[in-house]
Amino acid sequence: MSTTKPKRWRISRRGFLIGAGTTGALLALGWVAGLPKLRLALSDVAEGTEKAFSRGAPQATPTQWFVVKPDNTVELYVQKIEMGQGIHTALGQIAADELDIPWENLRVIAATTGSSVDDPNGTGNSESVVSHYLPLRKAAATLRDMLRTDVATMWGVATSALVINNGVISYNDKSITFGEVVAQHQGEWQVPEGEPTLKSADQFRYIGQSQPRVDLPAKIIGEARYGHDMRLPNMLWGVVARPTQIGATIASVDAKDAASMPGVVSVIVEDQFVAVAAENKSQAAAAIGAMQITWNTPQPLVQQADIDRATTVQPGSGVVIQTEGAVDWSSEGVIRREFRTPMAVHAHLEPQAALVDVRADGVEAWVSTQVPVGLHDAIAGALGRDKAQVKVHPVYLGGGFGRRLEPTLGVEAARLSQAAGRPVYVSWNRAEEFRNGFVRPPTHHVMQGKVSADGTIEEIEHHFASGDVLLTIFPPAVGTLLGWDIGAARGAKLYYTATTGKRTIGQRVALPIATSFWRGLGLLANGFAIESLIDDMAHQVGIDPLAFRLKNLPNTRFGERMKRTLQAAADAAGWGTPLPAGRARGIACSADAGTCVAQVAEISIMENQIRVHHVYAAVDAGLVINPTGVQTQTEGGIVMGIGSTLIEQLTVVDGAFSAFNFDKYPLLRNSQSPDITVVITGGEDDPGGMGEPPMGPVAGAVANAVFALTGQRLTSLPLQLPA
């Protein structure tokens, strides 16, 4: 992957940077994009307590670069990781549109860290398009204006007299391509003053079109390189000793004759890090196997009952994160339900891998990671190297889902490479992925609601308990100060109106198991609990669940968007029309990352097993960059959500996880996966996120369909009918 980019830059105007040494040869324009609001908010919190939190600090390194080359191609360097969500294509469309260049002239390039593009946010939180939409357009428009101004000077005409179309600048019968402008340019480039004028929506050429994904041609023929595919001549294979029991640490190591075994080049036995690098993987594994490693396993052994007990809402505890009016649960007619969701693994099909080459003159790493900058800093820190000497080359990810947001693996390979003096490749196997990573935290929810006879929600409360999600990446003081986990609270707040009062309470749960990000964070679990209770309330007063939602959503801009989205899903599904015997529909909705999603699930039950036949989804993601991208993210979220709704459950037995491969933890299969219809609604607002929002309504829609079919309210995931 080519990563030639300007190595130095100077700031020419607030937020914009011009590559040095680009006079005449090419034009490089970089800019610093804003940080996501969530990260800024946490940064504010953290800075009140301690300075350890540095990842969210504003920084002056560009997050993106454009390079216009004399051959008329335009390179867009981005560090948002392509993991199947189509982000390279979406960002490319935004850029090509505002630049006004032919689509085929654009190259989207994954930018290496530590050279000139550093995006401290990593890729996640459904924020890539959200955070880049306007900054990217402004940068592209600025670049376009620079080229136009240059031509105006060259030809001695007014800038306003020049027309830009499809990468060509023209005046009467004269025309010149962007590449030719760059090739003919003399002297320094100037960034124009003032805000650039952006295209109006009716001028869009690529935004709103289903441009084909830029990464698919290579993926179709097996040439796309993922982290696990990386190889270097002369590289060694690393294997790291890892515990099979939860929380186990190394008590003692007798390395025996591991160092002299065939093919072994390097053996590391340091505190809690025992690893071997050898000429091939089986030699490395054999050497680890020959060592005598004694593990300290926490006693008593963790049991599932301990986790369930800990993950339980305690009345009076937790932090009130939303409150309006007053709630009183002592009165008559209150509906109270408890919901549970289990631990789950990410099950990205590409096991993690890292190839790191530590040399005297620098460090290069190819790692399956969602956070190249975080990994870059971690490697530099672990090796005691200057950050400027480390380069992390982004690679394609075979699924991310939040699993690749921490840097352990790359650091392991770096330490082995440093010891061996050769490049070292370390890959996890499936058992390591199950045992030695982190999991989606288990949750418990107590929902209470009160509804009037005419179907008006009077009071509603959501009290949830969850293992940590987002707090795991911050210093402990942040968690102590906040008292609740913003990640676990994704989708937890109540957006229905309540005439008397509503309240949401978040409760942190300390668990003996590593928990953290999983696609949507708390969204799936919270959506399940809230949308199940809403359904209950509708049925209690005998009102159609769609009508009940429409009645109780607020008359705000958001409420109107959600109502329209619900109606669109219902229309697509034929809500209210007769179904064949044995089938039923359920409806649910949720909002996340600025996107409203509603889904209708159509199910049946065969031999006591729930079968989801079709999901009809409507999505209002604001302005849609790529409709096919919105559809595929919706489809993917629905299928992953149905896996959690019907099948997935990780449990603990005697201090170890119950599964360490797909034999004991199956994923949803093709035959279990529904047909899916996706309707795109809205579009007036700026783009919302798409990677996670479709996870929100799935479990609720299916559970509500089960209720419609059987009268049974299932309250635990995975949904299981009583035998």
């Binding site: 993991m83 199947g84 969500q85 189509g86 289903s210 084909p212 994904r213 990464d215 698919l216 041609p217 993926k219 179709i220 023929i221 097996g222 040439e223 796309a224 390189r225 993922y226 696990h228 595919d229 190889r231 294979w237 091939n280 993987k281 089986s282 099950a347 990205h348 099909l349 590409e350 096991p351 394609y396 990810l397 075979g398 699924g399 991310g400 889902f401 196997n429 499936r430 096919t628 595929t632 489809e635 993917g636 979220g637 629905i638 299928v639 992953m640 491969n661 797909f662 034999d663 199956p666 994923l667 949803l668 299969r669 093709n670 035959s671 996966s673 529904p674 047909d675 899916i676």
Partner: protein, 157 residues
């Protein structure tokens, strides 16, 4: 020992063992288009063709395929680069998301179409049912395999 992969002969070390074909393909010959997922024969990411039959490379001892025709994703397109109907259809319907499982999905689909040029919807689901896709592209896979069958029929007509 010699292996025939995509019509090309590769010499590999005869270790007298039964190391998995997958390890040889990915780790010794660096043909990384074939993917690894679970290594226990469940997920289907490592599916290749052995004499035209969709086969789990992670469960196939290398010494059992000596002298057989092995085909991987790198050999699915024609030598001139023209895509196999399955590849055309997967591209046309924008099926892959992360793409990791897709070599296995496409090799499974190609083996199905070689055997059954007009598969029914049930044939497709049943043939594709042992290939996991964590990104959740299943319903597009079903559509794309049907489309690939149509493309194949058009080109044979």
């Amino acid at each position: 020992m010699e292996l025939t992969i995509n019509g090309q002969t590769y010499t590999i070390a005869d270790l007298g063992d039964t190391r998995p074909l997958l390890n040889v393909i990915r780790d010794e010959l660096n043909l990384t288009g074939t993917k690894i997922g679970c290594a226990i024969g469940i997920c289907g990411s490592c599916t290749v063709h052995v004499d035209g039959v969709a086969t789990r490379a992670c469960q196939t001892p290398v010494n059992s395929v000596i002298g057989k025709e092995i085909r991987t994703i790198e050999g699915l397109a024609e030598a001139d680069g023209s895509l196999h109907p399955v590849q055309q259809a997967f591209l046309e319907l924008q099926v892959p998301q992360c793409g990791w499982c897709m070599s296995g999905q496409m090799m499974t689909a190609a083996a199905l179409l070689a055997q059954n040029s007009a598969p029914t919807a049930d044939d497709i689901v049943s043939a594709m049912d042992n290939n996991y896709c964590r990104c959740g592209t299943y319903h597009r896979i079903r559509q794309a395999v049907a489309r690939a069958a149509a493309i194949q029929q058009e080109s044979n007509a």
